[in-house]
Every structure is written in structure tokens, then in C-alpha cells.
């Protein structure tokens, strides 16, 4: 169960806030603690994308250095460094496989530090374990095609056009699967949010 450690990591709100302050003070030990808290999660995510342990470790290193160098933009009081770090990790990995595959980067989507408040204010919601469980259940409710397009988008960073080429399906079909998958996820979250 990989979801549990993710939830535990994302739940560390108060500790994260103090950790961010120390990172902003450039305390190297804070980086060590950040790694101890999120290193395995970041590695698992990146490995899922690049499927090479050596490259995954290089990209984990890049991820933590990127966070180390850009942490000044974070609001320590709201401190949700976990989701941000995972976004950085994912983008590092996808950037790598796109470069290795000779594909152009989706620069707009990968500028994860453009709006840090999108992560800092995210915390109260994302840390709800019920919601995480619901998302997982929602993913399992997707059809195989819907789940495939979501995974290709999230773990491989493919555009819809690229997915259509990969899957040998018309672009319109792929877009339909993507929208249907996202709607399912959104609806599941919304319905459960009302019932919770």
C-alpha cells in the first residue's frame, strides 16, 4: 500500500511548516530531514516514470536540490512542501523522459513554482485521508482506457496527441477518455465530499 506513506507524509503539516523555515534559513540538516520524510515517495514516483533506478536516483537528487534552491518562495505558515516536492519530482522525471525521447517539454505545465500558493493552500484539503481513499477508489472505478490515459498523462507526461499516437486511437477518442476519467474523479470527490 503506497497510499498510506503518501498520506502520512502529506499530513505532516505543522512539522512541515517548521521544516520550511529551516530550509529557508539554509540549514543543511533540514534538507536531511526533508529527504527522510519524502525521499522514498519521490523515488517511487520518479522510478515509476523513468523505470531505471540509477536515473531515478539522479532525478531524486535534482528534485531535492531544486526544492533547496527554490524554497524561498514558500509560505512557511501554510507549509505544504510535500505536494510541491512531489510535483517537482514528477516534472523532473517527465522532463527527463521527454528529453530522452526527443520530445519537446511542456514548459508551461512544468513550471511548478510559478504559483506556490497553489500548494501552500492545498494542504487542509489534500491531507484528508478520506479524500485520498476516495481518489484511490475513484481511480479503480475508471475503465481500463480511462485509467491508461490518466497514467500516460501523469506518469509519462504525454499530451493527448501523443497518447492517441501511442494507443493508435483517434485524438477525439482519447480526449473523450481523458475528460470522462477526470469527470469521474471529480464527481467521486464531489459526491464523497458531500457525504463525508
Amino acid at each position: 500500500m503506497f497510499l498510506l506513506p503518501i498520506l502520512l507524509a502529506l499530513r505532516a503539516t505543522e512539522a512541515d511548516a517548521a521544516l520550511i523555515v529551516r530550509l529557508q534559513r539554509r540549514e543543511p540538516q533540514a534538507l536531511a530531514e526533508l529527504y527522510d520524510r519524502y525521499g522514498r515517495l519521490a523515488y517511487g514516483l520518479i522510478l515509476r516514470v523513468v523505470r531505471d533506478t540509477g536515473i531515478a536516483e539522479d532525478l531524486v537528487q535534482e528534485t531535492f536540490l531544486r526544492v533547496w534552491n527554490r524554497v524561498q518562495g514558500f509560505d512557511a505558515q501554510k507549509g505544504a512542501i510535500g505536494p510541491w516536492l512531489l510535483a517537482v519530482a514528477r516534472n523532473r522525471a517527465i522532463d527527463y523522459i521527454r528529453s530522452a525521447g526527443g520530445r519537446e517539454r511542456n514548459t508551461v505545465e512544468f513550471e511548478e513554482t510559478d504559483h506556490p500558493s497553489l500548494y501552500t493552500d492545498m494542504e487542509p484539503d489534500i491531507l484528508a485521508s478520506d479524500k485520498a481513499r476516495i481518489v484511490k477508489a475513484a481511480v479503480e472505478k475508471l475503465s481500463s482506457h480511462q485509467r491508461q490515459v490518466i497514467e500516460l498523462a501523469y506518469f509519462e507526461g504525454l499530451s493527448q496527441t501523443e497518447m492517441a499516437e501511442r494507443m493508435g486511437q483517434p485524438l477525439g477518442t482519447v480526449k473523450t477518455w481523458v475528460r470522462a476519467a477526470l469527470k469521474t474523479l471529480r464527481d467521486e470527490l464531489g459526491a464523497q465530499a458531500v457525504s463525508v
Binding site: R40, G44, R48, V135
Partner: protein
């Protein structure tokens, strides 16, 4: 585009699937801190972040942590040897102290046992001398002090071996004092000769061997006086024991 028209594009943007012109429109709204688009995008980010939980668990190598910390200037010691060496050193020191203490105890015990053995050996030799003297073919025995309250005992005399004085009721010598043995000559006017010194036991007994031949023709008795513990050349006190030599057996 207005926010309503962008509503279906937040998740696409968060996943990196948004296409122009919607992608640029969403970004423009975010750049100006749009009150509608910002919270919506937060929810979209939240959903995308949770998708990471579908990845299989995996653990990086332990070296990765050191690499990352070293890249920001933190030198981590490679595991193991320093604490291991420290632990081993402490263990050896403890063992050295423990066994050193044991060695010291053993040494003291050996010294004690050696001294005890030496004392027992001396006592055994003394007893052996006494028995040899008592059992000698030429040995005679005389009693003394039988008609007096203190002290009393026997003197075993052997012309070639010497004499054995066994006595009881002998008061313990005061501090600085000791009992001195004397050869009492038969010749009138002759001075007694020194025959050795001893201390009585706590129970008032004594068993003292006088080694060497004693000529009964010139020596009348063995006497004991209380003298300074350094000894004197001539008796200064009245003898507490006077044991005559019995004539040699024919």
C-alpha cells in the same frame, strides 16, 4: 475566456494536458490571482498529487541521501567505522579493566596463598622437627612446673638434635617484650647462654624447638625469661620456666 469557460480545463492543466488557447488562458488567470480559478486549480492540483499514490513502493540506495547532502555541502561520514571502532574500543577497555581487576585480585590471592603456604610449610617443618626430636632414640623427657600454677609443660631433649619445649599457661608477653631461651650451665659461676627467642600463642601455649646438639655434661637445664623483644645477652628477670635436661638414655 471567462472563468466559467475554463471550468473544465483545470484538471487538464494540472495534468499537463491543457492545450492552447485554454492553457494560456488558465495561466493568465492564475498569474493575476483570479479568485475563481485559484481555488479551482488548488483542487485540481490536489487530485493530481494524490495520483502519485498509485506508483509502486520503492526504496533508493542508502548512498543517495549522502549524495544529496554532499551536493549542498554537508559531508556525511560513511557509515559504520567510527561508531564501530568507538564501540569496540570501549568494549576492549571495559574488558581490560574487568580482566585487569580480575588479574589484580588473582595476584593478591596468589600472594596471600603463597604466604599462607610458606607459613604452613614453616609450621610443618617445625612440627616435623618436633616429632623427629620427640621420637628420637636418644630423646628423654622431663616435666616442669607441675607443682606450680603457671606455667607447666615438658622438655624433650636429644643430645644430637637439640630440645623441644612444650608449655602451657604461659602469659602473653607484653608489648615490646618476648620470651628468651637460655642454656643454664652446670658449672657454678658460668653465665647462661642464649638459646633463642619466641612469643607464646594467644592461648598461652608454646612449642619451641632448640636446634643443635646440647651437651648434658655441661648444660643443666633450659630456662625461659621475659626480656625486651630485641633480646639480651644475659637474663635480666627471674625465669618463668626452668626445665632440667633429663639424662641421656643408654
Amino acid at each position: 475566456m471567462n472563468c466559467q469557460e475554463l471550468r473544465d480545463h483545470y484538471e487538464l492543466y494540472a495534468l499537463g494536458l491543457a492545450e492552447n488557447p485554454e492553457r494560456d488562458e488558465v495561466r493568465a488567470h492564475l498569474d493575476r490571482g483570479c479568485e475563481v480559478c485559484m481555488p479551482a486549480m488548488k483542487r485540481a492540483r490536489e487530485m493530481v498529487a494524490l495520483l502519485s499514490g498509485t506508483a509502486a513502493p520503492a526504496a533508493p540506495s542508502p548512498k543517495l541521501r549522502r549524495r544529496i547532502l554532499a551536493s549542498v555541502g554537508v559531508e556525511q561520514r560513511a557509515f559504520g567505522w567510527t561508531p564501530l571502532l568507538a564501540g569496540t574500543t570501549i568494549m576492549f577497555l571495559a574488558a581490560a579493566i574487568y580482566f585487569g581487576g580480575r588479574e589484580w585480585d588473582f595476584s593478591r590471592e596468589v600472594v596471600r596463598l603463597t604466604a599462607q603456604s610458606r607459613g604452613q610449610m614453616i609450621e610443618l617443618t617445625r612440627l616435623n622437627e618436633a616429632f623427629q626430636l620427640m621420637n628420637g632414640a636418644e630423646t628423654t623427657v622431663t616435666s616442669f612446673g607441675e607443682k606450680k600454677p603457671v606455667p607447666k609443660g615438658k622438655l624433650y631433649y636429644n643430645p644430637s638434635r637439640g630440645a623441644l619445649l612444650i608449655a602451657s599457661n604461659l602469659p602473653q608477653a607484653p608489648a615490646g617484650k618476648a620470651y628468651e631461651l637460655w642454656y643454664i650451665p652446670k658449672a657454678k659461676g658460668a653465665s647462661p647462654a642464649r638459646a633463642g627467642m619466641f612469643q607464646s600463642q594467644n592461648d598461652g601455649t608454646v612449642m619451641q624447638v632448640i636446634r643443635g646438639p646440647i651437651d648434658a655434661n655441661t648444660t643443666a637445664a633450659i630456662a625461659v625469661t621475659l626480656e625486651n623483644e630485641a633480646g639480651v645477652d644475659a637474663p635480666t628477670t627471674t625465669p618463668v620456666i626452668v626445665a632440667p635436661l633429663a639424662p641421656a638414655l643408654q
